[in-house]
């Protein structure tokens, strides 16, 4: 449907037929729909944060906010890669396993210096992502089944590395890696700053580079993109590799934060990341998406989790119910908004 980078051309194109009959009204509701799709999550986030700040004494404290920011950072990095993949119309289910694998590799490598500890997870997880990309782009296999296999394979590799999950490698205090994960700058944890830097870089790449335009074009209409001369296969391979590298990096930073490579982490993380991206207004059909939205989606999930944890009477399983219900509401709203835009 959308073969172009931004959604403005679509707006004008779909406006033309109705422009003669009812120009002002349809243009306005059209813009409202687009606005709802892009910023609906932000509005909900603001409401939830305001309600939580008034309702809970312990919510709007500096400690709690800094804590939430740091724990959001890791999911946000994973969601960043996931956003790129989803905009190309794909999906990456392997990120949870790669997150755990990255953490274990970082902790394992930390015994031989911080440089290896950082490089090893990036290279190995990037390689898994590269294989995903090759299978999706060159062999034309369905992304969800390829990355599903990678999810199993990476988890298996992780277990093989840790003597079936019995060994936990620790990261020593005072190393560069430990500082990267646990240190703070201007009151916020270093992972938060790294995440913000990555998102800025990601937004520039997505909006201002040829590669970013190709990502949107491939997701909008693959055949059209190929006909226009966009390197479809290369774009897809790059996107899956990126997702792998980012998942590995998030895992490494998380291990540095926890000071150990915990093997059981990352279960179900792919679902959280996909939920965050979808809540943020990125369409799973590809071709349309916002990095800022994904960040908002991650924050929304984490704030809901935080609020539910703080209301002592509520079991933490409620969080899953709320997340699931919220996801359902978002996709219904998105589909409805999308259909309105198509009709107009």
């Amino acid at each position: 449907m959308t073969a172009t980078g931004t959604d403005t051309p679509v707006t004008t194109a779909s406006n033309e037929p109705t422009a003669a009959s009812e120009p002002v009204g349809s243009a306005r509701s059209e813009r409202l729909s687009a606005l709802g799709q892009q910023h609906g999550a932000l509005a909900v986030l603001v409401i939830v944060v305001l309600a939580a700040s008034f309702g809970l004494d312990s919510f709007a404290t500096g400690d709690n906010i800094a804590n939430m920011a740091t724990s959001s950072a890791f999911l946000a990095i994973v969601a960043l890669g996931m956003t790129f993949v989803i905009i190309t119309g794909g999906i990456d289910l392997s990120v949870g396993s790669l997150f755990a694998l990255g953490g274990v590799l970082a902790a394992w490598g930390a015994r031989h210096g911080s440089l290896l500890a950082l490089l090893l997870p990036l290279v190995v997880c990037g390689a898994v992502g590269l294989v995903n990309g090759l299978l999706v782009a060159r062999s034309r296999l369905a992304p969800f089944i390829v990355t599903l296999a990678a999810m199993l394979g990476a988890r298996g590799l992780l277990l093989a590395l840790t003597d079936e999950g019995a060994d936990t490698y620790l990261i020593g205090k005072g190393t560069f890696l430990a500082h990267l994960g646990q240190g703070t700058t201007l009151g916020l944890g270093n992972p938060v700053w790294i995440t913000l830097a990555l998102f800025v870089a990601g937004a520039v790449v997505l909006r201002r580079t040829r590669f970013g335009q190709h990502v949107y074009a491939v997701g909008g209409n693959e055949d059209a993109a190929a006909l226009m001369g966009a390197p479809v296969a290369r774009t897809k391979i790059l996107v899956y590799t990126m997702s792998g590298v980012l998942a590995g990096l998030a895992g490494a930073l998380n291990a540095a934060w926890l000071a150990s490579g915990v093997t059981i982490l990352g279960n179900g993380m792919e679902l959280d990341a996909i939920s965050a991206v979808v809540i943020g207004g990125t369409l799973l059909t590809g071709g349309l998406g916002y990095l800022s939205g994904s960040l908002v989606g991650v924050l929304l999930l984490k704030v809901i989790q935080n609020v539910i944890n703080q209301i002592g009477s509520l079991d933490s399983s409620y969080q899953q119910v709320v997340s699931g219900a919220f996801l359902a509401v978002v996709v219904i709203a998105q589909t409805w908004l999308g259909r309105r835009r198509q009709l107009m």
């Binding site: 999906i91 299978l135 062999s139 034309r140 296999l141 369905a142 969800f144 089944i145 390829v146 599903l148 296999a149 990678a150 999810m151 199993l152 394979g153 988890r155 298996g156 590799l157 992780l158 277990l159 093989a160 079936e164 679902l271 996909i274 939920s275 979808v278 799973l284 059909t285 079991d315 399983s317 409620y318 969080q319 899953q320 119910v321 709320v322 997340s323 699931g324 219900a325 996801l327 359902a328 996709v331 219904i332 589909t335 409805w336 259909r339």
Partner: protein
């Protein structure tokens, strides 16, 4: 696109590939049986076969529903969560007797399937996302209803889990009966025809006047009901309700069984015999590796490789 032009040249290779797609899974099962007979001690005992069959029965039942959903070009990620939901609801209502409890389970499952089906058929959400919501929320709900493992003491449930007729456990009989029933539905009923037509091309089915929405909703309800049956049977075998871990990764096992069995993810074809064989293949593979003391990590890696190979082999048929 490029494949279409290359298509005509090696006819024998194409025929071989097609044969492999349809019968490869049976050949794989046969190969594993032969290999195990030679290398695994005590493999040919009735006890071993019964254990393997009882373990694979829930996977087969879930995979049957998954095969139907995949036949409509969809996917149902919520089956594991529905199993957990069935387990906790069984535990909650078992006090009223086994039959009322099963009725309530069926009601819950139908509700879950209806939610999935409505999202997919009426709202028009992609199946992955629609069922993802229930996958996240369903397990949460199961845990809210029953926060931790609970032992169940009910003679009816116990006999369902461990009883047998002429040495064949109920679990296996139920799985076999359901497989036959679903195969019959796919091959011989109007509903089955409609399901495949929708999977082949939804717009065409719509234009032909088929009740697309109704069929889709029924398919998702069936998938949820079958998952609930698997959940109840697994609970009966355990003699305990375990909503935390019951059905974890079941969606992966079921999808693997369906795909390995030669049902293309692009819809329009359902291979029930292959699906059952696919579940058996994965079970035998896992059992072989475990019996030879290979760690679970290798089992997972092997499973990953099998999935990729199966999808790769099925690839030519999916694209048209």
């Amino acid at each position: 696109m490029a494949e279409a032009t290359l298509h005509t040249a090696p006819l024998d290779k194409a025929r071989l590939l097609q044969w492999l797609q349809t019968y490869g899974v049976y050949a794989g099962v046969a190969l594993l049986l032969v290999v195990n007979t030679v290398i695994t001690p005590h493999f040919l005992s009735a006890e071993n076969f019964r254990t393997q069959a009882v373990q694979v029965a829930p996977v087969i039942i879930v995979a049957l529903g998954m095969a139907l959903v995949i036949g409509t070009e969809g996917v149902d990620l919520s089956v594991g969560a529905v199993m957990a939901l069935a387990a906790s609801v069984t535990a909650l209502y078992l006090g009223y007797g086994l039959l009322p409890a099963l009725l309530v389970v069926a009601l819950f499952a139908a509700g879950a399937g209806l939610a999935n089906g409505a999202l997919v058929a009426l709202v028009g959400v992609q199946p992955i996302v629609a069922t993802l919501a229930l996958m996240v929320g369903g397990r949460g709900l199961a845990l809210v209803l029953l926060p931790q493992l609970k032992d169940l003491h009910n003679p009816g449930l116990a006999s369902l889990g461990s009883g047998d007729i002429a040495g064949i456990p109920y679990l296996i009989l139920i799985a076999a009966a359901l497989a036959l029933l679903i195969a019959f539905v796919v091959r011989r009923t109007t509903f089955g025809r409609r399901l495949l037509a929708i999977g082949d091309s939804r717009p065409a089915a719509q234009l032909a006047g088929l009740p697309v929405r109704r069929v889709l909703i029924v398919v998702y309800v069936l998938s949820a009901l079958l998952a609930a049956v698997a959940g109840v049977l697994a609970t009966a075998r355990l003699q305990a309700s375990d909503p935390t871990s019951l059905g974890n990764l079941m969606e992966l096992s079921a999808i693997t069984a369906v795909v390995v069995g030669g049902t293309p993810l692009s819809g329009g074809r359902v291979n029930i015999g292959g699906t059952v064989a696919g579940a058996v293949l994965i079970q035998l593979l896992t059992a072989t590796l475990i019996k030879h003391d290979l760690p679970p990590s290798w089992t997972q890696i092997a499973q990953a490789i099998v999935i990729v190979c199966a999808v790769y082999a099925a690839r030519g048929r999916g694209k048209r």
